[in-house]
């Protein structure tokens, strides 16, 4: 029975870690997703998305440190690269590359959220 106490404590920690990470990841990914959307909107309206792209780059750079505790580091690095590309291609008005970078970020963010969700797909 004495061993049940650490088991209960560990279970609470595990559930807390899951819920905390789940909410944090969803929150960060949703915000980043909105950031990409506003980059696209700004680019279509004004032909440049420098302000939003810089905000997105800073935002990702700020959040990726904590995200690396829970998310595969390779995906985080890929998003970081794609976010930098959004800023770069927006600056040089390289349409094709800009949209490609935006789509890459959106797909990777979606992948992170899907990997975090406990679905039959992610479990099996």
């Amino acid at each position: 029975m004495k061993r049940l106490i650490p088991a209960v404590i560990i279970t609470v920690i595990i559930i807390g870690a899951f819920l905390g990470s789940y909410l944090y990841i969803n929150n960060v990914c949703d915000t980043a997703y909105e950031g990409v959307e506003s980059c696209l909107k700004e680019y279509e309206e004004h032909g440049t998305a420098k302000a939003d792209a810089t905000w997105l780059k800073n935002y990702w750079s700020d959040k990726e440190k904590i995200l690396s505790f829970f998310v595969n580091h390779a995906i985080i690095d890929e998003i970081e690269l794609a976010v930098s590309n959004i800023e770069l291609h927006s600056k040089f008005k390289n349409n094709y590359m800009f949209y490609e970078a935006c789509d890459t970020v959106k797909i990777l963010l979606h992948q992170i959220i899907e990997d975090t969700k406990p679905t039959t797909h992610s479990i099996f």
């Binding site: 049940l4 650490p6 560990i10 595990i14 690396s68 595969n72 390779a74």
Partner: protein, 223 residues
């Protein structure tokens, strides 16, 4: 490189904590579910070590989920015979009154050669001398010899000894007094010094000194 070193150190600490929480058991004494957990622990710990792109917390959480499952199952096995039988299996009587139960051997998929080998490990070389041989759930064979083949005990030879067995404890090791042993034997460091004086030796010359409650001692000097 430093990443690998730090990740290894972190996982080492967490695996050690996990094994400490699960409790002390030798590999040979493990029940099937404990063996499974131990095998999985080593595999899970290896993944974040080999692949540094994997977050270390995934490995740590998986380790502790296994620990929790192991504890829950062992507590349930303690409370319920059904769970115990389901998770650990049951002991099987293989030899009864010198006769091998071939049906039981088939059930546990054991060959006669395996049985003879296990008997030999128990210092039994003749099956007919065995009263009972039980194959335990951890794979070990427990053997009870027929009464006429059991070694004689002090009780059998009617020796008048009723004295309790005395445990010798290490009182000095490598020239240093072991204070826990002094407490257990209820003696003082001064008494130990007197013993050393009587044996013409000094504390720093002693490699090992063991004592029991009746002051029976073994003294080995340093070379």
């Amino acid at each position: 490189m430093i990443t690998v070193i730090l990740r290894t150190a972190i996982l080492y600490i967490f695996v050690t904590i996990a094994i400490r929480i699960m409790g002390k058991k030798q590999i040979g004494d493990m029940q099937p579910n404990e063996l499974v957990v131990t095998l999985l622990l080593s595999e899970i710990a290896a993944i974040p070590l080999q692949d540094t792109s994997q977050p270390i917390i995934n490995g740590i959480i998986a380790i502790f989920v296994l620990v929790v499952l192991e504890i829950i199952i062992s507590v349930l096995a303690l409370k319920s015979g059904w769970v115990r039988r389901l998770m650990n299996g049951q002991s099987v009587v293989i030899i009864k009154n010198g006769v091998i139960d071939q049906h039981a051997m088939k059930k546990v998929r054991m060959t006669v050669l395996d049985l003879i080998e296990l008997l030999r490990i128990q210092n039994v070389f003749d099956v007919s001398t065995v009263a009972f041989a039980v194959l335990e759930v951890n794979g070990e064979l427990s053997v009870l010899l027929k009464s006429q083949h059991q070694p004689a005990t002090v009780k059998d030879i009617n020796s008048p000894t009723n004295e309790p067995a005395l445990l010798q404890l290490p009182v000095i090791t490598d020239g240093k007094i072991v204070h826990d042993s002094l407490q257990a034997l209820e003696i003082t460091a001064k008494q130990v010094e007197t013993i050393l004086k009587n044996n013409n030796t000094r504390l720093n010359q002693v490699f090992l000194l063991t004592l029991d409650r009746k002051q029976n001692m073994t003294l080995i000097k340093m070379r």
